[in-house]
């Protein structure tokens, strides 16, 4: 079974195969402009997740254990698939909002406490592995600041990884920005606009690679101060706020025609681009509706 037509979509909802959830994330810091910010670490509902576990040991993420934005329980054992029906977001209470794109993502796996203060090669433990999108096809990796960098001189680093075909690769050199904020992506914040690929949330992979299965090691070219988490994610859908206190709505099947599939046990959270404004402290409130069939 699966949703294969508009009728199937309507029937699924009429049969009660739908879930309506809400979320409220309070950004607890003022970001710089043109910065990608991971709201996973922000308080609110759902609870924040800090990527805090044994250093350098990779760990899978999932709704059942870690939470994330609420969506329906697993349905694949019933022969169904889950789809994103609607996603709404409103920023309330402040005058400075994100006007850049936001990306709803399935957070798959993370490597905590990568130390930016050493130039030693830091080897990551991959005893555990991806539990969704297991080949790594379409999976991206981002570097989230767990403790803010200094960012002086735009630090650079490389990492080794296994691509979607199981091949070991050494990444192109990545360039950090200068914004030093927990939750900011290290390589994608306003301070790094002079560096290559600085407006891209994810780390740059080698030519021909279209996904990443695991990260083996990380090596900084010069020492800085700070801690990173490398997080493997699968982007699902984007949405963009354009005005203060005005709700952004995304009904994928109608206004973007992509009806994204959400894997069972997905850990859903949002990556947010601040656009031209600093995102000041304040709530981002929204709803998510899924449907399965």
């Amino acid at each position: 079974m699966a949703i294969r037509s508009y009728k199937d979509l309507v029937d699924a909802e009429e049969n009660g195969q739908t879930f309506f959830g809400s979320f409220r994330k309070n950004l607890n810091a003022v970001t710089g402009v043109n910065s990608w910010f991971d709201v996973t670490l922000s308080p609110g509902n759902p609870l924040p997740f800090y990527y805090a576990s044994t250093p350098l040991i990779g760990a899978p993420m999932g709704q059942a254990v870690n939470g994330g934005m609420p969506h329906n329980p697993p349905v694949e054992n019933l022969g169904y698939k889950t789809y994103l029906k609607t996603l709404n977001i409103t920023q309330g209470g402040v005058t400075s909002i994100s006007t850049g794109p936001m990306i709803l993502m399935d957070y798959l796996f993370y490597y905590p406490f990568i130390d930016t203060g050493t130039t030693d090669e830091q080897f990551l433990d991959n005893t555990a592995s991806l539990t969704r999108y297991t080949s790594g096809q379409g999976v991206s990796v981002m570097a989230v600041q767990m403790a803010g960098l200094l960012g002086s001189g735009n630090p650079t680093f490389q990492f080794t990884y296994t691509n979607q075909n199981g091949e070991l690769k050494t990444s192109p050199r990545q360039t950090c920005g200068t914004a030093t904020l927990v939750g900011n992506l290290a390589t994608a914040n306003g301070g790094g606009f002079s560096g290559s690929a600085s407006n891209y949330p994810f780390l740059i992979l080698c030519p021909e690679d279209t996904g990443i299965r695991s990260v083996q090691s990380v090596t900084f070219d010069s020492p800085d101060i700070g801690l990173l988490a490398f997080v493997l994610v699968k982007p699902i859908e984007q949405i963009a706020l354009r005005e203060v206190s005005s709700t952004a709505e995304r009904t994928p099947v109608i206004d973007f025609f992509d009806l994204p599939v959400i894997a069972d046990n997905a850990y859903l959270s949002i990556l947010m681009n601040s656009g031209l404004s600093n995102i000041s402290n304040g709530p981002y409130i929204g709803t998510i509706q899924t449907v399965w069939g």
Partner: protein, 373 residues
């Protein structure tokens, strides 16, 4: 087979006949963009990796381009070395080294690639190139491999047909908007390194197009693969149109396209404002709808130095970004019903019209969703 209804699109997505790609491209790495000028973003840094095929082939030779195309350049036997982060092509062998080429050879660290030109211009003896990994490699044969690194859209799907569903783009950099992005399928190219030669220069090789075989809808644009020297020649192509008619010429009225002096890598050299400026494509002779093959290029005067690439491309769609810091989105099913087709092997790259003087290394980010059935 083809997607012929909205229900079929939903069904295709459910069956995983769907791909989402998040992409990023940076504009010129060393020179600010000029307002009113078109650029090819494919050779910029970002993800996917930079296109290194431009200018990598022998002078005036035809080269078909697909997503899996590779071209190579080599040093002469035992004439390449790497010291630190500098690769030296002591005695040149074949074709031309370009930025982004992956280097291989005994002792060369895996993943080594050219990050920028030093004194090398692709094929000069003693030319140096900067690489990404510091190492010591003693004299030997070193090979560079170039790939187009187009946007990934899920691979080949034949006999199914792949269509674009939606696209988005964003930039927050100062004066990065207004701008217009154009997605093109780069189908073939010709390196023109003989830029000091005036008069007609004939292209070589059998010109069999990998897609759009008749040339319908294909147009040509010209960018430097090595920064150009001084010179403002007019440019004229002699081509065969999509109907198979030969000896068609770039029209001389109101003016032949005029190159901009010292054009940087990635800029479309005859685009801009003023007389003799066009963009992004070289104008066609009246009545023509595409180019099947190009027989020659004629530069009216020397450009002193540099190297050009003539590229045949199929425009897929355009996406304007109207405002800095505001995401631009386009639904190509409902909002602008078109669902442009992506052929197997497509080499998808972005062209960009700079509506303002956009700073060096300005980053553009976006996504592209496709489905097939």
């Amino acid at each position: 087979m083809a997607l012929q209804s909205m229900d079929q699109i939903i069904s295709a997505i459910t069956a995983s006949q769907f791909n989402r790609t998040d992409w990023n491209k940076n504009a010129l790495p060393v020179t600010a963009q000029t307002a009113g000028t078109w650029y090819d973003l494919s050779t910029g840094a970002g993800n996917p990796f930079q296109n290194s095929t431009h200018g990598s082939t022998a002078n005036l030779a035809f080269q078909a381009l697909s997503d899996t195309t590779t071209t190579t350049a080599t040093t002469a036997a035992t004439s390449g070395s790497i010291s630190g982060t500098v690769f030296t092509d002591t005695t040149h062998g074949t074709n031309r080294f370009t930025v982004g080429m992956i280097l291989t050879g005994t002792g060369v660290t895996a993943g080594t690639y050219i990050t920028s030109l030093g004194t090398g211009t692709g094929a000069n003896n003693g030319g140096t190139y900067n690489v990404n990994i510091s190492q010591t490699v003693t004299s030997q044969t070193i090979t560079g491999t170039a790939r187009p690194s187009g946007l990934y859209t899920g691979g080949d799907v034949s006999p199914s047909i792949k269509n674009v569903l939606n696209v988005s783009a964003y930039s927050g950099a100062t004066t990065s908007a207004p701008t217009t992005l154009m997605l093109v399928d780069q189908v073939a190219m010709f390196t023109v390194s003989s830029v000091t030669t005036t008069g007609a220069q004939s292209f070589t090789g059998t010109q069999t197009l990998p897609r759009y075989a008749t040339g319908a809808g294909l147009q040509a644009f010209i960018v430097p693969s090595v920064v150009m020297g001084a010179g403002t020649p007019t440019i004229q192509l002699n081509y065969t149109n999509a109907a198979g008619t030969a000896s068609r010429l770039t029209p001389a009225s109101p003016s032949l396209p005029i190159a901009t002096t010292t054009s940087p890598v990635g800029s479309i050299i005859y685009s801009g404002t003023g007389a003799g400026k066009y963009g992004p494509f070289v104008p066609l002779q009246a009545g023509d709808t595409g180019i099947r093959s190009i027989q020659s290029i004629n530069l009216s005067a020397t450009m002193t130095s540099g190297s050009l690439v003539v590229i045949l491309a199929k425009p897929i769609f355009t996406l304007p970004i109207t405002t800095v810091g505001v995401a631009s989105e386009r639904d190509l099913v409902n909002q602008l019903p078109s669902m442009p087709r992506i052929f197997d092997g497509a080499n998808l790259q972005w062209l960009q019209f700079a509506g303002s003087a956009t700073p060096t290394n300005t980053a553009y980010y976006g996504s592209l969703d496709v489905a097939w059935g």
